[in-house]
Symmetry: C2
Subunit: 501 residues, 2 copies
């Protein structure tokens, strides 16, 4: 894998200067075209051996191109904010928008390699991280991103010479990183695990480019040319290929019976029962959220449901129990311009709560397989792959200890009609009903199918759906509260069990 | 994930009979169209809870469709032949050809679940197997296959009733499998790990279909309809979408210096050195192959190289040391009709040696990134994804303990010309030189690039390439033998070390 990056590539000064002049011109042009089209982002991952010119090359790229359109991100020590969220969060928040370029220094690969070389993790954990990286890059590429992965390489002998030079140069010796590269074993381990990582993550949609780092001119020109040729090719292809996946279209249940039909919508509570149970569950929630075991968790509640199913009311009964500093409600409407310039999960990642916090999503990432599917806002290929991407996303959340509860509030068509009419007739409720609500109502059956598929494909052992019988608002509100409380208790119990094991 | 398969779906007899008549007709028609087009194979994986009607459904599918075009494969106890090869081998050998349908009972999913439920493997190993399955299915789908994965489900209560019924029916009680389903924990574990497996492997190109198994009519019709609709959709799409990957085209090295240029082709041995060293290495090989430690290994040697680089002669010097029963030579020419009806790796999988055997590939799976790339026989998308697929393939081989050595025999253009002319002038060598050889020679530079990329991307820590300086045949032959011997010794040593650790 690294053989051809140890043969002493070099380029003479004259050739270099001639080539660079042309290259810079072309790179700038491609960069502006990228901005103009604003169809996809470019991400450049920088990895490899210490002293192989990673920093210098990035610096040069910034000189060659328009630095206003490039952002260099280095991921050194995570901030407090980052530490209190799933490890993927810090990368997501810095993804470049469409039309721009992000250079990621110290990305997920450097972290997994560092952890493996220092013995912090074992092979099986490394393989897990490799797999995560692969899934992320596949998703990112499916969303249109152009991904470069550069590995700057030096032979062991070259590294030694390099380290010596750095040592004697007081202005540069600070560049040496935390791993002690002077140790022979460090190089060997780094290269061995590096080969494993490169072998498994070099895929057609996100290949690695191994660059010999000893000759500055060769190295710089190689990186510049690789970026240029790939970028030009991508800019020429006007359409992102979104093939119809080679798989069965989803069909509605043959006996016209679905999960939603199996709900007993007559379930209800009378006023006294409601009052008593609501008070009890609210008190329970307040206690659970103040429990010191909550410190190693956070909580996300997702609310989806039919129009007029009572999401707002249910959310209010949850928050009534809490201090406003304890929770945040994120209402999901049409994405902003900034959000549209990112992969669709980005706008949810940005709202992921820190440890000890509680975020309520009023509608959520499931929009992609509900409204976007039904209305045709997303192509078939896009919403069909979303189920797996969402499951991956939720696994990342729950792996970090986030307690995730997901509600579908379900009412029948008659109840909806009643509530629509009521809303229209009561002045202070009129803002709640729009033309769109009536249009959605016409697509009732399409939504039934979409909800069924959604639950079938994303109700998992780590993040199950709770279907809430919501014809009776009282019953629904109590069930929501109780489900959240049970989930918190289960998380506390399993964390305790985990410690004992 | 299983919720909607526990609500008691059912279909009445009258509806069923009406629907089935139409369905059978349409299925047969689609099946013939599939055979006619012969563009892709169909594979149907059957998994799920014991007693949920897996066997009955497969039987029914065979009745409904033309059984000559379907093959049901059940993977119970592996044969001796299968046990002595990598675990993937038994699945590869039974893949259906294009135009046909294979029903896989007891496939990779049942095996990983069985192993996890019985505690034979742990979570991290399960995740590894899940990842392997994902890579295989991605490759198989990229090669055009239409993949169905059915999970037949029963609730715990339904299972209990079912088991009781089976117990009391002497003609059917043999159906109960090795796991004791009567134990409550077995069901719970099976469903829990099943959810994990389904969640991670349900991707857009190979989704799972969960089918409630309690009502025979509902179950049968659902499976039949799912297959029909998907098959019809796939048959309609005449072209397999092969998007140009969104990644950099490969560019040749900027200083026109590659690995091959770095070889010292003047290396040579005189006659006496050759005689002595050849005898020594041949004796060493004979000894190593008789070593009892070879029993837990097998050996594959891959020979690639320039035309007239002396592959045949080198192979002969290897086999001269051995008894003909110890090795097999597989010359790779154009694929047969049968081979063309399979994924491109299939024709190599079929020749993978059993334990204690030695297979020599005279040209190999690298044809895809050499001749097929240079001649345009494979699309860019196809050969670009091949690097990663080949690395996955070789990992499966080496994980099983196969020692894999890969040679590129390299000569320069002058030497090739000399040898071509010699071949033409000597009558008994004339058969060795063809028009094609001369044509390939014109594409020398394209091959140099292809070889460089191949080595860069597939010379891995588990299966490195050995570049052989072959202007001097004697030198080349000795180097080949020595490399094989060293690889065997290293494998014996690391197996010993592995045991100690």
């Amino acid at each position: 894998m690294f053989e051809s990056a140890e043969i002493g590539h070099s380029i003479d000064k004259e050739t270099y200067e001639k080539e660079v002049a042309v290259l810079r011109e072309a790179l700038l042009e491609a960069q502006y075209e990228l901005k103009q089209q604003a169809r996809f982002p470019v991400i450049i991952l920088i990895n490899g051996i210490e002293g192989a010119g990673k920093g210098e090359t990035v610096k040069l790229l910034n000189e060659w191109m328009d630095p206003r359109l490039i952002r260099v991100e280095s991921f050194l020590l995570p901030t407090d904010e980052e530490l209190s969220r799933p490890p993927q969060w810090r990368f997501w928040r810095r993804l470049p928008p469409k039309g721009r370029t992000g250079i990621f220094f110290g990305n997920w690969y450097s972290q997994m390699l560092y952890a493996r070389v220092t013995g912090e993790i074992k092979d099986s954990q490394l393989d897990g991280l490799i797999n995560d990286a692969e899934r992320f890059e596949r998703m990112y590429s499916d969303e249109g991103a152009l991904i470069f992965k550069f590995w700057f390489h030096l032979s062991k002998k070259q590294l030694k010479e390099r380290l010596k030079a750095l040592e004697n140069d007081p202005t540069r010796s600070w560049q040496l990183s935390e791993i002690d590269w002077k140790q022979n074993e460090v190089y060997d381990k780094f290269v061995r695990y590096g080969e494993r990582v490169l072998r498994r993550t070099s895929r057609d949609y996100a290949p690695w480019y191994v660059v010999e780092g000893s000759d500055e001119r060769y190295r710089s020109l190689t990186v510049g040319r690789t970026i240029l040729e790939s970028l030009q090719a991508a800019l020429k292809r006007k359409d992102r290929p979104t093939p119809q996946p080679h798989a069965a279209p989803l069909v509605s249940s043959l006996d016209n019976k679905g999960l939603l039909d199996a709900l007993d919508l007559s379930l209800s509570l009378d006023k006294d029962q409601y009052k008593e149970q609501l008070a009890k569950e609210q008190a329970r929630l307040a206690t659970l959220m103040r429990d010191k075991r909550f410190r190693s968790h956070s909580l996300i509640a997702v609310f989806e449901g039919n129009d007029a199913a009572g999401k707002g009311g249910a959310i209010r009964r949850v928050t009534d129990a809490l201090d406003p500093r304890q929770y945040r409600i994120v209402p999901i409407a049409a994405p902003t311009e900034e959000e549209r310039a990112q992969p669709y999960l980005w706008r949810f990642w940005r709202h992921i709560p820190a440890r000890r916090q509680f975020t309520i999503f009023d509608r959520s990432w499931y929009g992609r397989v509900l409204v976007e599917r039904v209305e045709g806002f997303a192509s078939d290929a896009d919403w069909l792959r979303a189920y797996a991407e969402i499951n991956d996303f939720e696994e990342q959340l729950t792996n970090y200890g986030i307690v995730l509860v997901k509600f579908w509030l379900s009412i029948d068509q008659d109840t909806q009609l009643e509530r629509f009419k009521e809303r229209e007739s009561i002045p202070f409720k009129r803002f709640k009903i729009t033309e769109e609500d009536w249009r959605n109502r016409d697509k009732w059956d399409l939504y039934v199918d979409a909800v069924g598929d959604m639950v079938d494909r994303t109700s998992t052992e780590i993040a199950p759906w709770t279907l809430v019988e919501a014809n009776d608002k009282r019953y629904a509100r109590v069930k929501v509260l109780k489900t959240i409380n049970d989930a918190l208790e289960a998380a506390y119990a399993s964390a305790k069990k985990g410690k004992k094991d």
